[in-house]
């Protein structure tokens, strides 16, 4: 069984190669070939993943754990160096604390551990691997086109593309490591690698803002890492033999033993998934080049956070702590969606929508019944695809029109028709009926009703879901409004961008058609093997949704029918003579132009207000959870 270590090591190898290669044409070749191989290798996993239960592959190579410890120390030293350089003392403190815990773990607790660390794969790991392998590598391909334009547009940013692509591929490596490792200290190692990669990528441009935001991300994720390290220590003390350091045994060991480490790890997951009160780092990460945002939001980083929480859902379910984690997720969903209404920066809207959806996933995983875990995994899949598509679209638009403000995207359908249609499909994928995200939300409503205290979550979904409709549709409306005079600026988009965009658009639609198959072959077996029972949508509903999707796909052809037959008149301007580019004479004979701007409801859904509320609420909940867990632990 070579594919798992291959998937962990190969991207790292590609990354190392990219660090060495300076020539742009070679880089293009290596990135494309590497992405292709990673994509194929992750698809190959489909054929070797066992139907029932996870399969384990022991890695009997003794020095590996030692090497990882060494690497962690080197990373710590590196971070401390950067911390001193930029005078970020909180980061230094956190790194030191974490290093101290690790050293303590290695010197005292790990001595007694004599389990052979192993890699494993089951359907959930497989799903994650597919997301990382396919979407992640597509984003890397896209980054080729993006970064060359980026460097042209930002001459002040030092061209460190070698490091950039090194980090992108290394990130994939670390992510594969997170989802394939069964041995918790290894998960932790890869976990810290993702923190490091995201930290460096966010700070890529080196501006003051970028450095600050990078350190913000670092601090928050280190805080989570600290909790993770705490979980390792706790486990090492509870089971000196180290059997419980394996995820598979830990999950089966029941509430009494596993709850404390599960809560600690879930806390780490909450920081990584950028739920409130830790959402600020993901919003701040917007300063990074767009492919980084796409990577962070869809296939890596935040998905590692929700992955680990969904993994531990069987432990959390039915406990007070699980409910609180669920509530943190639920409130994050509600408030982040509301904040998204007040944002006009497309990347910020996407960021808040990501935070909201991660909140929803964590809400599902925290309450953690089998139906909810099913819904959570669906959400992970659909969100990854649609969100990466949207980020890449925004990145493309940004480079052509020079702005990522939604207000500047008026009439995108005229100016950049193909990209606008792709963006349209991506947005539809995020909230409209036969598309993925809505199916998952629907499944979540049905599942929450039966869960304990589920009514709170149903209410959150009812209100939060409709809020989502508002901010997506007004964005949609902006891009499809046909402004009469506009020049087309779609030429000159590099081919790499088109490849990634077309693939992701096709996948957004395809995944909706294929979702019954994905559910029955991947999600249901996983849920079945963990819980002994599984959820599914009824056959009738699947048929109806397939019909709706089909209808949606044929509706645009009605345009052909109406093509020529109708008379076109300008919009009603109260009878005022208006030029085709919407200029008219206002009162006192002043020439004015029509400018249509969306509502943002700053005073109702303002970022500051709601963020403060969310932070206070979720912080309180987490404190409560901490107290409860401490009570259990002591």
């Amino acid at each position: 069984m070579i594919t798992l270590p291959f998937l962990i090591l190969f991207p790292a190898a590609v990354a190392a190669l990219l660090l060495l290669v300076a020539s742009d044409s070679w880089r293009r070749l290596i990135v494309k070939a590497g992405a292709l191989i990673i994509g194929i290798a992750s698809l190959y996993l489909l054929f070797i993943t066992p139907e029932a239960g996870p399969e384990f592959f022991p890695v009997a190579f003794e020095p590996l754990t030692g090497l990882m410890f060494l690497a962690e120390m080197v990373i710590a030293a590196f971070l401390i160096y950067l911390g001193i350089k930029y005078k970020k003392y909180l980061a230094i403190f956190l790194v030191l604390a974490q290093a101290a815990l690790l050293v303590y773990f290695e010197t005292t607790a790990a001595a007694g551990v004599h389990t052979v660390p192993n890699l494993f794969i089951d359907q959930f790991s497989l799903i994650m691997a597919l997301i990382i392998g396919i979407i992640g590598s597509l984003i890397c391909v896209y980054a080729l086109g993006y970064m060359s334009t980026y460097q042209e547009h930002h001459p002040d940013v030092r061209d460190r593309r070698r490091t950039f692509f090194f980090l992108m591929f290394f990130f994939l490596s670390a992510m594969f490591g997170v989802v394939f490792s069964n041995y918790l200290p290894w998960v932790f190692f890869f976990w810290e690698l993702t923190t490091l990669c995201s930290f460096l990528l966010i700070g890529y441009s080196g501006t003051g803002e970028a450095v600050n935001n990078a350190f913000l991300a670092l601090n928050m994720n280190l805080l989570g890492g600290l909790a993770f390290a705490g979980a390792l220590l706790y486990l090492a003390f509870v089971s000196p033999g180290g059997q419980l350091l394996e995820i598979s045994t830990l999950i089966q060991s029941g509430h009494v033993v596993a709850l404390v480490p599960a809560v600690l790890i879930a806390f780490a997951g909450i920081t990584k998934a950028a739920l409130m009160p830790f959402s600020a780092w993901l919003v701040g990460a917007m300063v990074a080049p767009t492919p980084v945002s796409a990577l962070l939001h869809s296939s890596t980083m935040v998905k590692a956070g929700v992955y680990i929480i969904v993994r531990f859902a069987p432990v959390l379910t039915g406990t007070m702590e699980g409910l609180i984690i669920g509530l943190v997720g639920g409130f994050t969903f509600l408030l982040a969606s509301a904040i998204a209404i007040s944002q006009s920066n497309a990347k910020k809207v996407l960021a808040y929508s990501t935070i909201a959806n991660l909140g929803l996933i964590v809400a599902c995983a925290g309450v953690g019944t089998y139906k909810l875990v099913w819904a959570a995994i669906l959400l992970i899949i659909f969100h990854a695809i649609a969100k990466s598509l949207l980020f890449l679209c925004v990145g493309t638009v940004e480079h052509r029109i020079g702005s990522k403000d939604i207000e500047d995207m008026t009439g995108l359908i005229v100016r950049m028709p193909k990209v606008a249609v792709m963006m349209f499909i991506g947005i539809a994928g995020m909230f409209l009926a036969p598309f993925g995200m809505l199916i998952s939300k629907w499944a979540a409503i049905e599942a929450f009703i039966e869960a304990q205290f589920g009514l709170i979550f149903v209410a959150i979904l009812a209100f939060g879901g409709s809020i989502t409709v508002l901010f997506w549709s007004k964005w949609m409306g902006k891009i499809i409004s046909v402004c009469p005079v506009a020049t087309k600026v779609e030429n000159g988009i590099p081919r790499e961008k088109w490849i990634a965009l077309s693939f992701l658009t096709a996948m957004t639609v395809f995944i909706c058609l294929a979702f019954p198959v994905i559910s029955s072959h991947l999600i249901e077996p996983f849920v079945l093997s963990v819980y002994g029972q599984t959820a599914r949508l009824s056959q009738d509903n699947i048929t109806i949704m397939a019909m709706m999707l089909f209808l949606l796909m044929i509706m645009p052809f009605s345009m052909l029918w109406y093509r020529k037959s109708t008379k076109v008149v300008p919009p009603y301007m109260a009878g005022r003579p208006t030029t085709p580019d919407m200029h008219f004479l206002g009162s006192m004979g002043v020439q004015r132009q029509v400018n249509l701007g969306n509502y943002y409801f700053e005073e109702v859904f303002g970022e500051k207000r709601l963020f403060m509320a969310g932070t206070a609420l979720c912080f309180g909940l987490i404190l409560l959870m901490g107290t409860l867990t401490a009570g259990v632990a002591l």
Binding site: G411, I413, L432, A433, P434, L438, W442, I445, E446, I449, L455, V458, A459, A462, F463, G465, S466, I467, V469, L470, S473, K474, M476, G477, K478, I480, S481, V482, C483, P484, S538, D540, N541, I544, M545, M548, L551, L552, M555, S558, M559, W561, Y562, R563, S565, T566, K567, V568, V569, P570, P571, Y572, M573, A574, M582, V594, L596, N598, Y599, V604
Partner: protein
């Protein structure tokens, strides 16, 4: 279990019922205002006329959105009457409404643009309450399928009085009646001309009107569900509710968007959630 013949009946009959209801509505409104009012069949004359008019557009893509709007309204309504999943029906209606909003956005006209924004506010104002109504029905009947809710022998209204009141509140928004006819209205509407429908004319406007009829029949069907255990009571309830809506329509002046959003969320929260909470608590403690 999907009842295809019911869906077919809906598709054929709903425009007639919806048009007739609209006719009665206009007649009654006129009488309340001390006028004689138009003939009962006036809505059909209007749509007939619109279909005969020349089609003018601001942008040809309006056709696509409005046709999709009509088609998805019909599909969603048919799904409801076929006994489908109530949540899916609600989501399908949202999809349809998004098409109407997009149609308004596509024309780049100031009036329809404001109409579109207001329509979106209306959607977020009524949607939570509608979903909570479906959830309430689930809590009583243990099913989201309309045919099972229909077949339930329990008087839903006695279990869900708060939800029903909340639903009535948002029904006013859905029926485009004052005080919540923000985005477009049947009556003179000079402040944003005709809001969301400003730029639709001729046959396209006829399609919007027909879609509205279909939707109204669905809404009446939704009221029916609360009283499904006894059809005569249900029909009486529908008549009373609709009369009440007409009365409200003629009594109140138009509200602002803030008031609309706030009041409908507060009512949904107070009436709907409290009602559901009690039910939830009871079903957890005393199994029904």
């Amino acid at each position: 279990m999907i009842l295809l013949e019911n869906a077919l009946l809906f598709i054929i009959l709903a425009p007639f019922i919806g048009g007739l209801v609209a006719g009665i509505d206009r007649k009654l409104t006129a009488r309340m205002q001390g006028r004689v009012g138009p003939p009962l069949l006036q809505p059909f004359y209007d749509v007939g006329k619109l279909l005969q008019k020349e089609q003018i557009v601001v942008t040809p893509s309006q056709h696509f959105y409005i046709l999709s709007y009509l088609v998805f309204i019909v599909v969603s309504g048919a799904l409801f009457f076929a006994g489908g999943d109530l949540l899916l029906v609600i989501f399908a209606f949202t999809l349809a409404h998004i098409f109407l909003v997009l149609g308004a956005y596509s024309s780049y006209s100031p009036y329809s643009f404001i109409g579109a924004e207001r329509e979106l506010i209306q959607i977020i104002a009524y949607e939570p309450m509608i979903i909570l109504s479906a959830v309430g029905m689930y809590l009583v009947t243990k099913s989201f399928f309309v045919w099972e809710i229909m077949g339930s022998s329990l008087p839903l209204i006695l279990y869900l009085p708060g939800v029903f009141l909340g639903f009535l509140m948002v029904l006013t928004i859905k029926l485009r009646k004052s005080p919540f006819d923000l985005s477009t209205s049947h009556h003179a509407h000079q402040e944003i001309v005709k809001g969301v429908t400003t730029e639709f004319s001729g046959p396209m406007l006829a399609r919007v009107e027909i879609a509205h009829w279909y939707e109204n029949v669905f809404l009446l069907g939704f009221i029916y569900l609360f009283f499904a255990w006894s059809p005569p009571v249900a029909i009486l309830a529908i008549i009373i509710v609709y009369l009440l809506e007409i009365l409200v329509d003629n009594t109140f002046s138009r509200a602002t968007w803030k008031f609309t959003l706030k009041s409908s969320w507060i009512i949904a929260g107070m009436m709907g959630l409290v009602n559901l909470g009690v039910l939830y608590y009871l079903s957890a403690v005393v199994p029904v």
